[in-house]
């Protein structure tokens, strides 16, 4: 009798203890998951640094890749030059168009059209990169052959939604009092937009552009079909097919020779350093421009 009473009294405590144990366990799982996510990034960056550092020298940047020869000092100069050209041209294509789209969406379009353009941008950013590569292959490469320009065009399609969406967000942050001040002074809308709204948000626009460049500089899939059949010389001419870092890494990674793997790692190290610095730089730009906008709003 008394034993039954005791267990009835104890039962709530047991349950509470179990609930607390489950809670503790789940908190542990969440901590572990975060550690795994950060650890994965750490392992990736560490692997690239560990394998790539030994090859990271002037030869990598100045010598070009030649046919397999373990004794030759080989580098990726042609790939670095090609990536610079392709990404620069792609940025020159995507940046103005993206900013114009954002201006239209934010300063001119009505609510329904705004939602529609946002939808289109989402769809465009959801198209797999390999499909975009094949699209440009069918559009340009089949008739005109491979070229750096075709690769730039494919990369620009990937960049466009990035640039447009980040610029839309930044333009929306510009306080309306500034637009009203411009219009109130008698400036037409185009001057208010180009002379007041755009300069106010230039920091944010550059942040978005930097992030877009960082995200697309490592893209391989669009370039495979557009600019991959290349010689070993350094070429700065985007009218011909040029080598690029991602495509070089892709090809070298499937080679059976350890020397080629070493070069792939070192190219990857340069790429990853560029992406990390660009992302950090963009973050820094973002906090700076936000502070400036905050001052303007006050």
């Amino acid at each position: 009798m008394s034993a039954a009473n005791l267990s009835a009294l104890q039962r709530p405590n047991d349950r509470l203890r179990r609930r607390k144990a489950v809670n503790r366990g789940m908190e542990l799982v969440a901590w572990l998951a975060a550690a795994i996510a950060v650890g994965l990034l750490g392992i990736l960056v560490f692997s690239v640094a560990q394998h790539g550092a030994s090859q990271l020298n002037l030869n990598l940047l100045t010598k070009s890749q030649v046919a397999y020869d373990p004794t030759a000092k080989q580098g990726l100069a042609n790939a670095f030059a090609g990536t610079l050209v392709i990404v620069a041209v792609a940025t020159a294509m995507a940046l103005p168009v993206g900013i114009l789209i954002a201006i239209y969406v934010n300063e001119f379009a009505q609510r329904k059209i705004r939602a529609g353009v946002g939808f289109v941008l989402d769809i465009l950013s959801g198209v797999p990169a390999i499909v975009i590569g094949f699209f440009v292959y069918g559009l340009i490469v089949i008739s005109h052959g491979q070229s750096g320009l075709a690769g730039s065009f494919a990369l620009a399609i990937l960049m466009l939604p990035f640039v447009a969406r980040s610029t839309i967000e930044v333009l929306a942050l510009v306080p309306n009092s500034l637009r009203e001040a411009g219009l109130g002074l008698g400036a037409p809308r185009w001057r208010t937009t180009l002379g007041i709204v755009l300069p106010q948000s230039i920091g944010g626009i550059l942040t978005g552009a930097t992030l877009a460049v960082a995200r697309t500089a490592g893209e391989t899939a669009p370039l495979l079909f557009c600019s991959s059949i290349v010689g070993n010389g350094i070429s700065w001419n985007p009218l011909h097919a040029v080598q690029s870092i991602p495509v070089a890494i892709f090809e070298l990674s499937e080679s059976p020779y350890p020397q080629d793997h070493a070069r792939a790692w070192s190219g990857g190290l340069v790429l990853i350093l560029f992406i990390l610095f660009a992302s950090l730089g963009a973050r820094w730009l973002a906090t700076r421009s936000r502070r400036k906008l905050g001052r303007a709003a006050r």
Binding site: N23, M26, E27, A30, A33, A37, V38, L41, L44, S47, V48, H51, V97, L100, Y104, V105, N106, E107, F108, V117, G118, F119, L121, I123, L124, G126, V127, P128, I130, V131, I132, F134, G138, L139, L160, I168, E169, A172, L173, N176, R179, P188, R189, W190, R191, T192, A221, F225, S228, P246, I249, F250, S253, E254, H261, W265, G268, I272, I275, L276
Partner: protein, 327 residues
């Protein structure tokens, strides 16, 4: 998206009765043209891909999608997406199964548990993981991850779960399971960062109410946070899934490739997905029916990505509307 609505109507419409200025019309015209161009571009992509696959479409019809064959030898030309579609399904579903619980736990850590000093850095690091180019993850997958899995993980899984047909014996470092792990790494940050924002959007008074009733933190998460963010988490999973089916480069590097003439029921043998099959043929030496069939594969990917994105958008918009009315 809601931040867009802050633009004032004053700036939007010229004063009534005032003639539009040439500069205004010009800027609006050029900017509108750019927006129209983006829409046109989506249409052009669809058109070009459909056009490129026309030969294969007319030869094999819709049956191509499930037909299991890939024979480029002249005289025996026969192509079908079945085996690759199966590979895509296995790898992306596998990656989703591995990534979703992990991503939700990361998001919970960032939104509910993390000490303040740790929150910013961990959030930034998770987002940096999303910025690592796929070709580098693939390089790491071939040279580091693949051999590691082959020596330590694959045999263990085979001996523990070998009674399930999918967990066969491991022979090569480049196999379907390696591709699943690589895809998991790639979609983890996508699902985690969207879910984190959703969890942060759960109203504080609901959470405090649950805690005040005596629930533990986990019970609060299960009873309040998860139901509140359910729709959004589904959309995040769909977006991650879309990313996984569309990824070609990293998968092509680690999956090994196979003939595509049968369904592959072993996770630990080399395989192929739609994306990896396309990427493997990048030198563009194919002509005629084979090239057209490759474009048909791209068309299948394109259709899937369109469906996935539209569905995710609809879910996001619906749950945003629901949250908007309840707030």
């Amino acid at each position: 998206m809601s931040s867009l609505d802050t633009t004032n109507a004053v700036a939007r419409r010229p004063f009534p009765g005032r003639r539009a200025r040439f500069g205004d019309v010009l800027l609006q015209g050029v900017a509108g043209l750019a927006a129209l161009g983006a829409t046109f571009l989506v249409g052009l992509i669809v058109y070009k891909i459909v056009q490129g696959s026309k030969l294969s479409l007319s030869t094999f019809g819709l049956g191509f999608v499930t037909h299991i064959a890939w024979n480029p030898v002249a005289g025996h030309l026969d192509f079908g997406a079945g085996a690759f579609l199966f590979g895509t399904a296995v790898t992306s579903v596998g990656a989703l199964i591995l990534a979703t619980p992990l991503a939700l736990a990361v998001a919970l850590f960032l939104s509910e548990l993390s000490p303040n000093w740790l929150r910013g850095p961990v959030t930034a690091l998770v987002e940096t993981l999303a910025a690592i180019p796929s070709v580098l993850i693939g390089l790491w997958g071939i040279l580091v991850l693949g051999p590691f899995l082959l020596n330590h993980v694959d045999p263990a899984l085979h001996s523990a779960l070998g009674f399930i047909p999918l967990f066969g014996p491991a022979t090569y470092a480049s196999n379907v399971f390696t591709a699943i792990v690589v895809l998991t790494i790639m979609i983890l940050p996508i699902i985690a960062s969207i879910s984190r924002e959703l969890f942060l959007g759960v109203p504080g008074e609901l959470k405090e109410g649950a805690l005040a009733l005596g629930l533990t933190r986990w019970e609060m998460v299960r009873g309040v946070v998860f139901p509140y963010a359910r729709g959004g988490v589904a959309a995040a999973m769909i977006l991650g899934f879309g990313r996984a089916i569309g990824e070609a480069i990293a998968v092509q590097q680690v999956i090994g490739g196979f003939t595509g003439t049968h369904l592959l029921w072993n996770l630990f043998s080399p395989g192929d997905t739609i994306g990896s099959k396309i990427a493997a043929n990048y030198q563009g030496s194919q002509t005629g029916l084979e090239l057209s069939s490759l474009v048909y594969l791209a068309l299948i990917l394109l259709v899937f990505s369109l469906i996935v994105n539209v569905v995710a958008q609809v879910i996001v918009r619906r749950s945003a509307r629901r949250l908007g009315t309840s707030a």
